[in-house]
């Protein structure tokens, strides 16, 4: 069976239905049994115009990273689409509106900047949509019809997802949108009868009902609800806002509430207050908001109050690049804040892990009574994947609170120094126990005490607890395990997909390469990571930051220097860049 690995982009202005068209491609292809990874990008400015682009990589095998070359570009706005031409693959298919409302000068035309091998398919999107539905709004669907006809996608896949999308708006809307799609489909089938590519029609796939098309944002929202979230406090910030929007829509149906706070400081304060009272709560923000939260996060560390904070990283520092992806908050997440304020930091690498890690974050926070930071990024939030998602049962999402034994009622010490460092925590309302939450250094009973002995003892206790948490933190996973590696690549967060693809391709080229996925950022499994580094002749850590923040964290685990590959392009690292670096290192090694 021939394999498909095909990337399609839709590009238009805000208002062209670009994101909707990209979403329909993802849904249709997913329903057709293909593996899909989609990613949308849109302008940072809050206004009614700007370039929107969706990127969908569609494969007959599992897709773990974005496509680097675009095989089909659907242009809903030619002037905007000109920016997409550098990433066009050789012989790419370009769909464009052949009957725009006005004449277009060459310097605004998409076709004037296409590479010579591009195959152009002019379809009068607007005119066909008007003919089919009476209005040109459906031109994005007409474009999809043309795409489906030329590439050989079963039109029923699109018809189904269009019906699903519009069914809540009534039969008429379903009908005119399907008609708009059909108009483009029929037109292209006839007009390009001698140029039909049949890329997808050659593939036999079956719909996998377990595969769910989800974005990182949706997975996080679903996980929070499945974890029994009671309260969400937040202040809008890209790219975390969609989580609040999702929860505002669905959390009330599950007995929870979303509260938009006046800022990020009050958000984290409210989260600490809720957890103090025993209710699961969370907040999500991005770098600038996270910076505001740091003092109160350390309050959670000192007072040993659980909290779940999701830091959706974007390009920084400061306001930075609001709609671009980066992994540059690692230092801030691990070390940000006053004092020795060690906390748990975990980083999912894909949408499925977003779900499971968020559920686990509540449990870790409860058990270890400390803020848990889930470190994600723009790419992870905004990408969609269709993977099997097995949702957590109530039992799997159950509380990990460590409550004090009734026997300790009379001599309960809120900050009791136990071998694990975990002090059983009483909640307000538990009769016979005292409730303390203090940001001052304190004794086991909770009384302020700044003596050198006490501060040393309690600091050690809090860090022991963190070390102990490692037993509940996921160990690094090794891919293509081997006793000896010429190059070992360590990846984290959304970059790991590119690492995995690069390593797999290098192995196909005959190189002895392996990958290690690190999801527990702090504390981290130093023995596992160290052993991986020790058995690798060269160690490479690709990251979407300038400083090599994970590399800095783990470099001391082995005597050999860590090779770094750092991108601050605002876009995901292309697998080929990692593969090239791997193979460069191998060449140097061979010399």
């Amino acid at each position: 069976m021939p394999e498909v690995d095909f990337t399609v982009e839709v590009c238009g202005m805000a208002g062209d239905g670009t994101i909707a068209a990209g979403g329909l491609i993802n849904e249709a292809m997913s329903h057709g049994g293909f593996s899909v990874l989609g990613f949308d990008s849109y302008p940072a400015e809050i206004r009614g115009f700007g370039r929107c682009v969706t990127n969908s990589r569609i494969g007959s095998n599992e897709i773990v990273a974005l496509g680097e070359k675009t095989h089909a570009l659907i242009s809903l706005n030619d002037e905007q689409s000109r920016s997409r031409t550098p990433s066009l693959a050789e012989h790419s298919l370009v769909f464009f509106d052949s009957n725009p409302p006005a004449y277009v000068p060459e310097d605004s035309s998409l076709l004037s900047v296409l590479p010579p091998g591009a195959q152009v398919f002019g379809i009068p999107f607007g005119a066909l949509a008007v003919g089919a539905s009476g209005a040109s709004r459906g031109r994005n669907l007409t474009a999809l019809g043309g795409f489906a006809a030329v590439t050989g996608v079963d039109p029923n896949l699109f018809r189904k997802v269009i019906r699903d999308k519009f069914k809540s708006k009534g039969d008429r809307l379903v009908d005119i949108n399907v008609k708009s799609f059909d108009a483009g489909y029929e037109y292209a089938l006839e007009k390009f009868s001698d140029r039909l590519k049949k890329i997808f029609s050659k593939i036999e796939t079956g719909h996998d009902p377990q595969k769910v098309m989800l974005s990182g944002n949706q997975a996080i929202g679903m996980a929070a609800i499945d974890a029994g979230l009671k309260l969400y406090f937040g202040y809008p910030i890209t790219p975390a806002t969609p989580i609040m929007e999702y929860l505002a829509k669905y959390l009330p149906e599950h007995g929870g509430q979303v509260v938009q706070m006046e800022d990020e400081i009050s958000s984290i304060g409210a989260v600490l207050g809720s957890f103090y009272a025993g209710a699961r709560s969370m907040t999500a923000t991005s770098g600038p908001g996270f910076a505001l939260m740091t003092e109160l996060i350390t309050h959670g560390v000192m007072a040993e109050i659980p909290a779940v904070i999701l830091d959706a990283q974007r390009g920084g520092p400061a306001t930075g690049l609001p709609t671009k992806t980066e992994q540059s908050d690692l230092h801030a997440a691990v070390f940000g804040g006053p004092g020795d304020s060690a906390r748990i930091v975990i980083a999912p690498t894909n949408v499925e892990e977003c779900y499971h890690f968020v559920i686990r974050s509540f449990q870790l926070a409860e058990k270890y009574q400390t803020p848990v930071i889930v470190l994600t990024d723009f790419f992870l939030h905004n990408r969609v994947e269709n993977r099997p998602l097995i949702r957590a049962t109530e039992g799997q999402a159950a509380s990990w609170n460590v409550f004090p034994d009734e026997a300790f009622k009379d001599h309960y010490q809120r900050y009791a120094d136990t071998p694990s460092g975990i002090s059983p925590r009483a909640l307000p309302g538990m009769q016979g126990f005292n409730f303390i939450a203090t940001g001052l250094e304190h004794t086991e009973k909770g009384s302020p005490d700044y003596s050198p002995e006490n501060h040393t003892k309690m600091s050690e206790k809090r860090h022991r607890k963190l070390r102990y948490s490692l037993k509940d933190l996921e160990k690094p996973a090794e891919f293509f395990a081997s006793d000896h590696l010429d190059v070992g690549v360590i990846g984290w967060g959304s970059t790991f997909g590119s690492v995995l693809e690069a390593v797999e391709k290098s192995r196909k080229n005959g190189f002895k390469v392996g990958a290690l996925k690190v999801t527990s950022i702090f504390p981290y499994h130093s023995e596992t990571i160290g052993a991986f580094m020790a058995k690798s002749k060269r160690v490479l850590v690709p990251e979407l930051n300038y400083e090599g923040q994970l590399a800095n964290l783990i470099a001391h685990l082995d005597s050999k220097p860590v090779e770094r590959l750092n991108f601050v392009t605002g876009t995901p690292i292309p697998p080929s860049a990692i593969q090239n670096r791997i193979e460069e290192l191998l060449e140097v090694e061979a010399q």
Binding site: V104, E106, Q119, V120
Partner: protein, 338 residues
Amino acid sequence: MSVKRFVIIGNGPAANHAAKALREKSSESRITIFSKDPFRSYSAHLLPDFIAGLIKEEDLYNRSYAHYNEMDMNLRLGQRVVSVDFSKRNVILDHKEVVQFDGLIVATGGKPRIPEQFQLFQDIMLTLKTPLDARMWVEKLRNVESVLIIGGDLTSLSLTKALLKLDKRVKFILNEDSFWPVPLNEEIYRAVTDRLEQRGVEIVHCQRIRRITQLEENLLEVETDREILETGVLGAFFGLVPDVGFLARTGLDIDRGILVDEFLKTRFANVYAAGDCAQVYHPALRDYWVSIGHENATALGRIAALNLAGSHFEVRVEPENILEVGGVKVNTSWWTEF
């Protein structure tokens, strides 16, 4: 001086040699080549070999995409020029794009000519001008065993050889209305038919075709004034006509092709025509002639470009050129009677 913008319409030998000459003379200029066809420059004479399975489709193409990048030319395939506004000096494409030019060379070549009496049947007749046509032949020949060719131009003879290689049964109606390089006199008729018959082609002698009926997808019935024939596919080969219809309302002088002087200039400044789409004035003949063949096209393309770049070369193509057609030598001075 600002960068000059040169536009070439067409992507055949005349167009490509014009582009090459322009680049040689003007390294800074912007050169844009428009082709309504979605494929690269190809060697038309190899199309029958492709149909016969002797070469792969890739072998038809004689310039890589990289070539255009290296030459800093913007090759725009599958993009049809629908009009030219000579007063505003721009070309208009069918997707409503407007492209300005300082200099223009029209080198659109020819397109298959279908005589009026056969135009009704155009959709069920195959021609052979482009790789796309060749693909259609390949596709069709998978399912049919017999071919009837009407006409008799140069291409039809090459195709016939290919068909015989594929063991197809070929019938041939040599039509005097075909775009033959010379008037079809008795002598040539006999020479060509003898040769075809020697190779196993059945010559159908008739004065006219009365009816063509499609009975099934791969079965046609053709009634002549003498007999009724059945064939799997029907090929129409009446030569080429200049592909200049889109220029009819632009103010250019057009007879059948674009009328140009001996320097290939049209009536508009910095606008030239070359190759099969042009009718070139011959001062000695005091008449216009149309070139055919690859060699003439490349020469004309080059001259047009050099003149557009400031030179003053006169076309010197001898009308006594001799071509060999299926083993028969024919004189191409036919164009004087065109």
